[in-house]
Subunit: 548 residues, 2 copies
């Protein structure tokens, strides 16, 4: 028996387009001789559909699409994720479901039992957990179908188990020959390694092979990495599809030697690939072809520009330098070098005359107040207005270039450098931005990000001779404090006890807490760490919570 693991890149909500993709995939699987094609979780609607699920019209369209897909299942069967209406009169009105389609109709439907409702996930908002497990008899092989989180309840590997049920254990006990896990599992730094261990552990425990089929592609802030895989009953990965790309992995159960095992990119390379895919998909799925961004000569805008260029091609990227009275010469030359290295369009618009006019008309209102952060912000906001003007005039999506460290401590200007639809590196800490810059140059085999951009001291250049370290601790220190405070949810006391200077820790935490209002209005940040700003981190703003 041949099984095709079909990992596709879906557009959220686009039931028609997604169905066409699924039908095309089904055709390819049939041509390759597969008797079963497996698609990812909620394939018909794309994951995550979010509040589109509250539209009855949307749910009906997806049910109809599954019926049409089923009608095409002749000579081949498929497992396809969709949203099912809950026919019971009690409980939430939908279920996260997988249809087993064969012989022209939906033969059986399986439901997700464990509904993640943490981090970026909101499944209890929509779905009723599935009724107990049923097996699917596919040509004499008993398939146990689980959906994503159903398998993420491993006693040994999950710190605290959130669920009282163990659907995969039940499938095994019920006599499944093969466990199938249909997923939409988002990418995260080092998450692939964990996934391999988790699936391996489950396969070993239940002494069953597991087939994992994942979604691929960027949907808003989430990037799905694909890398669908097969694990044998000893828990080894024995087949793996491509990462960060659409793929069909064909496994002939009778001929394990023929299976393909694609490598998964390691460390900084997978961050890079995730950002490239996430950027490309966000831009294209929003209906844009081109982007614009400000080039300061610094490493953040350089890395953002390089990723955009990789994602969209140099002809789709315009970089704009907007020197102020405080810009150094090297800023302009670094920006220009970068644009030349990348082969992107490059513009220069000086902001000093506009800045002067603002100051003139604000002066009567500012009276004798000394210059402060206000004047710095005005410069950043003039740049925002200019970039948005280009965006509006030419239909280019504006990319914002801030990194996670500065977004964390509010070292950024709302309606200024925070303008833009997508924060490409908004979940990348500054220290990792430098590693990305090095990686981009190594990957290209030549200088893309200028060496001087990487080596000079970082500066916002909003006042004379300013550097980031005038007001922030060194980024190596800052990033380690932020990791503990934001990702690990440690208290000030615990971070200080781990060896950091008390004054610095308190200052950083205070800045993080005070900046929630900025992040409330920030652009989407492509999520690459386990705790990103955005939908997976939900903080109150008008709040107070210091205990030391």
């Amino acid at each position: 028996m041949k099984i095709a693991l079909v990992q596709l890149n879906f557009v959220v909500g686009d039931v028609r387009g997604n169905s066409e993709k699924i039908l095309a995939g089904l055709g390819r699987a049939a041509s390759a001789g597969a008797s079963l094609a497996i698609f990812s979780e909620l394939a018909v609607v794309g994951y995550p559909p979010r509040d589109l699920l509250l539209k009855p019209e949307f749910v009906r369209a997806n049910v109809k699409a599954v019926q049409q897909i089923a009608e095409s299942c002749r000579g081949i069967a498929c497992l396809v994720g969709f949203v099912e209406e809950n026919k019971e009169s009690l409980g939430r009105s939908l279920r996260n479901a997988v249809a087993y389609c064969a012989e022209g109709r939906v033969q059986q439907v399986c439901h997700k039992s464990l509904l993640p409702t943490y981090d970026v996930f909101d499944e209890e908002r929509y779905f009723e957990p599935g009724p107990p497990v049923s097996l699917i008899n596919h040509e004499g092989v008993s398939l146990g179908v689980s959906i994503c989180e159903d398998l993420w309840n491993d006693e040994q590997l999950i710190g605290r188990r959130l669920y009282h049920e163990d659907p995969v254990g039940r499938l095994a006990t019920a006599g499944a020959d093969l466990i199938i896990n249909v997923s939409a599992s988002p990418f995260g730094h080092e998450k692939h390694d964990f996934r391999i261990r988790l699936f391996g552990s489950q396969a070993r425990r239940h002494r069953r092979p597991i087939i994992f089929v994942n979604q691929v592609g960027g949907n808003d802030e989430l990037v799905f990495d694909g890398a669908s895989a097969v694990f044998n009953e000893r828990g080894q990965v024995v087949a793996q599809g491509g990462a960060f790309q659409e793929d069909m992995l064909l496994v002939d159960l009778a001929a394990p030697d023929s299976w393909r095992l694609d490598p998964y990119p390691v460390d900084i390379a997978h961050i890079h690939d995730a950002l490239v895919l996430g950027t490309r998909d966000y831009v294209h799925k929003c209906g844009f072809r081109k982007v614009v961004l400000g080039l300061s000569g610094g490493v953040d805008s350089a890395v953002t520009a390089a990723i955009a260029t990789e994602a969209l091609g140099p002809e789709a990227v315009t970089g704009v330098a907007m020197p102020s009275r405080y810009s150094s010469t090297h800023s302009l030359t670094d920006a220009e070098d970068l644009a030349r290295n990348l082969g992107i369009d490059y513009k220069v618009i000086p902001i000093s005359p506009i800045h002067d006019t603002f100051e003139e008309y604000l002066k009567p209102n500012f009276a004798d107040c000394p210059p402060d952060i206000t004047e710095e912000n005005i410069q950043a906001r003039i740049r925002g207005v200019l970039l948005m003007a280009l965006s509006n005039k030419f239909g280019w999506l504006l990319l914002t270039t801030g990194n996670k460290s500065e977004l964390a401590v509010g070292y950024c200007t709302l309606y200024g450098d925070m303008c833009g639809g997508l924060a490409v590196i908004g979940d990348v800490p500054k220290t990792m931005v430098y590693r990305l810059a090095r990686h981009i140059n190594e990957r290209a085999g030549r200088e893309m990000v200028p060496e001087s951009t990487i080596t000079k001291p970082p500066s916002a250049e909003l006042r004379p001779d300013q550097t980031d370290q005038d007001s922030l601790p060194p980024y190596e220190v800052l990033d380690r404090i932020l990791e503990q405070y934001i990702t690990e949810e440690k208290s000030a006391g615990e971070i200080i006890a781990a060896g950091f200077e008390a004054e610095t820790v308190h200052k950083v935490i205070r800045l993080v807490d005070l900046s929630e209002y900025k992040r409330k209005q920030a652009a989407l940040c492509l999520k690459v760490t386990s705790r990103a700003f955005g939908v997976g981190r939900r903080m109150p703003i008008a709040a107070r919570f210091r205990y030391e």
Copy 2:
């Protein structure tokens, strides 16, 4: 037996401050001769605490606070909402709990069973549902304690019941003499009426009196309206505390004739009161004393200014007129009249010279492109920069003045008129804004919002002779389409079938869908309708979902 219903205004996260409030309330209740004081849901932490709940330090502080409150319970008992750690090894790590404190210690803890996870609520993200109900014996009276949603599962009144359990039914069956419902139930238009019917229905069904204690105050976008109440076993409201204010309602069970029954403001008055409270609390809880806003001479900024003045006092509000080359004379006079009527500070900063400078420096980049929306947006963004400069320089919170109708169809400029920390009327449809304007004048007994502001045709004045109705249907039509599409989740076909012009419906829906990216970065909108933009409406952006 005397029971004190103590409705307080908490700051989210401020365990120390909230505890002090609770202790003071306990003192007042004891002085009044109460044997039991009842506080609202999660009183110690303020509702909703959101992801502060993921901080172990925060949860520990709240547990400690409850113990301290319990120690003060001598000669009086209390029921107080807090977050309890779930001691079981399986399941989510917290519970939404109420402590019964008496004789100096926590005697008993009750848990919330029904965890709302829809609209603005995310309780399954944090809490494990409570173990089965236990009664509390307070001086011989058997108290059945439920927490907010526990009671919102009425067969007759709730369209589709989401839950399989009926905690209030269980409390009644177990022999509770009195049902207590400890709540943090946010305000909504016409929700108070529904609440009265719901509690009445439950009281009748179980033939038990119900005591409802609600939180009061604004926390970010949510406004809690208080109006704590007592229902007799026939389902009648027999006592009610003040709405939109802190209050202590004392009920002597032996003397029902002595109970106070405060009126609840009707219709547009309750929207007004909610916005005033929400604005005051957001500004103060964020640590600001003063606000600034742009005055266009139109009804949106006029109503926003009037609400801010009511909330904070005229000395705390600065209105800024920023006329452009397209501004009419009446805009300036209307703005000036408004400022005079309200007694607020008033500034004029013309934007034409700045606009000219922008155009000059953008010209080489715009080549021969004809003027379009770009030039309109530049004006709105210049105003944003000016207002933010005043905000930064003087520490005034910027209020944004857009209404729900324009936010729905994207008739607003990102980083322009959308600048600001709080959208006071961001959940108020335009037709309701006019009603608010009339109400404000009637309430004051004189003209606050100038009559000409109310009667002239609305215009953004971003190009010559522009009016809103050049590009939008009349607001009476627009608001009815938006209500059906956004709140009722109806399809285009259903709205057209209800009697609206097909072309208009498709155009409006397209505008709503295309504007998700703007709303992603919008200011917090004070929620007054059942479906507000913000945390309770979670839409994908890079999505497609048209089926006609």
